[in-house]
Symmetry: none
Subunit: 259 residues, 2 copies
Amino acid sequence: MEMISIGQYDLIYNAFSFTFATMMAATLFFWFGRSQVGDAYKTAMTVTGLVTAIAAYHYLRIAQSWEEAHVITNGVVTASLIGFNDAYRYVDWFLTVPLLLVELILVMGLSRQETTSKAIRLGLLAALMVGLGYPGEIAISASERWLWGGLSMIPFLWIVYELFVGLSRSVDQQPESARGLVKAAIWVTVLSWSFYPVVFFAGAVGLEGTTALTVVQVGYTIADLIAKAAFGVLIFMIAVRKTEADMLSSPNMGRAQAA
Amino acid sequence: MEMISIGQYDLIYNAFSFTFATMMAATLFFWFGRSQVGDAYKTAMTVTGLVTAIAAYHYLRIAQSWEEAHVITNGVVTASLIGFNDAYRYVDWFLTVPLLLVELILVMGLSRQETTSKAIRLGLLAALMVGLGYPGEIAISASERWLWGGLSMIPFLWIVYELFVGLSRSVDQQPESARGLVKAAIWVTVLSWSFYPVVFFAGAVGLEGTTALTVVQVGYTIADLIAKAAFGVLIFMIAVRKTEADMLSSPNMGRAQAA
């Protein structure tokens, strides 16, 4: 088996370490931000920080597993006897991807009934999407990768439909100062999530060996940073603007809608 | 002795790691949620987070013990010289299962006297239930497993009786907005706890070897996630709704009942 170069090894390791640091920093930013938003948005900020906290844990584990899976001797990389545990990513996504949709629904401040029904439906679709992707990720043949990847696209497209069509009326009801940001958050979700299948299928369209490995590892890392940390900043900005709008329209509204 | 496959090893390890991450995330969610509920329910939220925090600690230990108990060489799993410490589960349950019942009693907001007497009685029954199960878990013969498992069912059935009959009057006194959720919490307790004996007796009814091991480890993990994290979300939702109901009926009632 062709081994990765020391340059590729370092690039991937440093990308993992960078992402751990960014996710931890994002977590603290979101949890400090909790005290700056109205009661109605505190749960959204809690969940936003949980997503990056869970991702930070998994990037720490991924970086450790990456180190344990390789032996470096005089700048030459060889495989150790312990395999690299790539499943950490899927374990992470299984937990965080549903929560990302919950963040968005919570910050939109829908009715309690709509919040519950949309959170459950979108959460289950997201878990299904991730669950169907994993057999494809560990598949050896390209055809299996296409099969599971294709199946995983069904819940993904359903989520896209729900975000653009199912939420459109609720988007129009957002205060004007936050409406553009809510639309941006929906677009960031769809575009950053679209990046995952591109990386996923890179392994099925001729990209091979160590280049494919590097593209997959660094690609997923960049996608995670945008989908979780950058997306979370948008959620915080929306919560701040909606808090301001609530205070202008009725000083007690934030309290009444709590959680 | 038949050794588990690398796929089974990884599935179990990833289930442990997933559960550690979920329990930590749940803990932080519950402790942040403390600031969103009335004074009367803050102790319930503290305890809810303690349960998942204790579970997170034990899952971290279980995952470490699992790693230490095995040696992976080129994708083949062999036993190391150190045994897998399964007792972490019982140590965890001995502490967390009584606390789960305390959570439920605290969030129901009974009189101080009833809270104390029910918490002590149910807590002792739960500790007895776990304590009687352990000799069966480590028993080698199926008959011993049946014996201790059967004895453990006596306090379990007593708890079920207390939840459905002993608490029924108190359930009817809950504010209407929270009553359905309190009933759901009782049902989640009984159903998720019923899953443990099913897993327990899987080892006594013919399921053998590595399949039994995988079913037991993953089964207990799923049961813990439902009984502790999902149950805790219900407790939080009950606390939020009761806080709102208290504020509507009397703005100071939440404060007056503070534990």
